[in-house]
Amino acid sequence: MTDRAAYVQMEGICKTFGVVKANDQVDFSVRKGEIHALLGENGSGKSTLMNMLSGIYMPDSGSINIGGKPCHFHSPKDAIRHGIGMVHQHFKLVDILTAKENITAGMPGSFFIKNKGMTEAIGNIAKKYGLQVQADRKIYNMSVGEKQTVEILKVLYRGADILILDEPTAVLTPQETDALFNILRNMRRENCAIIIITHKLNEVMEISDRVTVLRKGQSIGTVNTSETNAKALTEMMVGRPMSLEIQRPAVTGGADSEPLLDVRDLTIENQEKIKVIQNVSFQVRRGEILGVAGIAGSGQKELCEGIVGLQKVSGKVIFKGEDLAGCKPGNIISKGISMSFIPEDRLGMGLVGGLDIVDNVLLKSYRKTKGLFVDRKQGVSMAESIVRRFDISTPGVHHQVSKLSGGNIQKVLLGREVSLNPSVIITAYPTRGLDIGASYNIYDVLNEEKKKGVGILYIGEDLDVLLELCDRIMVIHQGELMDILPASETTKEQLGLLMLGHRGEGADHV
């Protein structure tokens, strides 16, 4: 198998965006009948490279060969004509249409839609690769895993035999991930070429035949998965040896100590009067990290916002013996509850991109000084100490926040929250989009706060991280609390089942 010629060959690919060299002389090749992992940290140029292979961008220089013939793609249509299909991280489906309509939309054909033929064709493809999909179901009724299946069917229906998947497991539960991997193995058997973009090492080791590692826009090398290990890959990816262990310091009296934050029967309705959080009760204790696991959109955001007064709630939020439900956000902040939420665009809430670090650092404390004016002197010294302590790389404290890199932006946010000396920290996705080194910095910061006796509510995406970092993990499913488990005695599969809403079956299955 290793001797077979490359089917897709990209050579000397360069791509520049403004001053950013996203790809610099990248070489990459894939064979038929292999699963090839493209590994690299955020910003290493993986998606850019694949966007060029799928015709979304055009390379500044370099060549793409498919089956030995040079190709120039001007649009995704050109790429699909050569059998290249990409499943994006954020699905591109029309919610109100059915799976079938999404799969066949935009395909050439006669004026009238030949329903029967299409259903048959879709059924055949699905059977061939072991995909399970209800063709007449509307997209908005589907789970994330099902939507992904539709996306895959969409590109297969267009005749793709080179499939690119961008971070396909980021939004899946462990069970859904397993199902996806089975599909990919079927496709490999049918002689497809599969490229999976990822930064998760355990997945690379589990599914891929070969790995290409990118770092800072350059290709570091391609290795056979069977001849490497997670440690070596990390070193290729980060550029230096790194321990991948996350600390979980035991804090004396942590788990058994008095609750700092006691949430009772919290219920939150959204604008359409649908309950997005239902009767959720839990406690955050001193010196513990309580993790929250759940499929994206299970009510994580509402939970955070509800506790800090940004959403109307019913139920009780008892903090140091006082019910804070219904209080104004300003009031709750001054009591010592900090909340930071990193949305997908990183800046959505918590920071003001257009302002400098000083003004962002002052956001929650400017009110404390007397008088009509903002005390920027104090802000400068606060900003300087945060920049020092968190090692934020910036030309100065008057630098605009949106011009910082993602990791530094998140450090500014967390740095500000921590510097306010809160008793409770609520943090959602604090390592979203960060590289490995920066993520570990964040875990260290949280652990340090934990040792000081701060109670931390950590809303996470990566189950591995949740299991290692947190003391206890609560799982929510469609706004309901499924269970709260001690992290050291829980498995990923158990969490996965709970996330899907299977209560109490966890123990039997594992």
Partner: protein, 359 residues
Amino acid sequence: MFKIIKRPPLAEGRMFVLRILAVVFAIGASMAIIALLGHDPFKVMLEMIRGSVGSAYRIKETINKMVPLLTLSLGVCVAYKMKFWNIGAEGQFYMGAYGAGLVAFNFSHLPSYLLLPAMFAAGVLTGGLWALIPALLKAKWETSETLVTLMLNYVAIRWVTYLQYGPWRDPKAAGLPRMMHFPETADLPKIGSIHIGWIIALFLVIVIYFLIRYSKLGYEITVMGENPRTAEYAGMNTFRILLVAIMISGGICGIAGVIQATGLEHSISPVLSSGLGFTAIITAWLSKLQPVTLVSVSFLFAMMLQGGNYLQSVMKVPSDVAGVIQGVILFFVLGSEFFTQYKIVRDKRQGEETRKVGA
């Protein structure tokens, strides 16, 4: 084919050069338009400058136009800082003048040192309250402030017309539909031959500068403009901030109305503003919402307005030429912003490269 690509951030110096170039191009384009209209562009330009600053009288006229323009621009700046698109300066101006009129006609027995401050206070209040209507509608029902402020302009102008024909009609005007004059005690004092409106305007420049730059309210307004969710998250009372900021915005536009009514017309008419409330939107943008820059930009625009009037009487060139030049300058300067971020390069292949950096 050409394609547009993102360029590396420009240094401050190059940015400045780019802006100057934009103005130069704008003047060039304006001159081309003037030539197309059949006039000698160089002569028109020269006459425009002479007409605006060529004599003591003309300078006075220019300053008289600059004062309300500067004040109105300051007013809209406060709202724009919050990304509240107040294009109702015109209406707030008239309502401010109306508030002043209410005081002037009802308390005409007061001495000047009491009457004038009371008129200004009333103008701030009526102008501010007028602006508050769209703010409240937006806060409660998320209406578009752009539409509501715009429409309220016409309501305000019609209200003044009604007063002119109705309750405030001058009985001594022998049948002419003219509004009563203010009592003489309501005349804005003069230094030399220029009314002290310019002192008020410059004072407001300083106030607004400190308000936006250093005050807590200014900070809150800026944060809200950048990201209202973050403002709420930080514990700001966004509703209160919105109302206060808009009261200030409308109030300052109201002051412009009072200045114009007490300093020049000594009465109110539906043409009191001569459309300056709209010009103020342009000047505010061109100054990038910087109060200090506004002083020079307002003066430049006042020169064009005054110069345009002069052209009409001396060269028989329509004064609208000044309006054309204003529009062209705005077009070029705002257009140049595009080139601070993107550049156009030749490309033989078809391409679109304006997307953001992929990870």
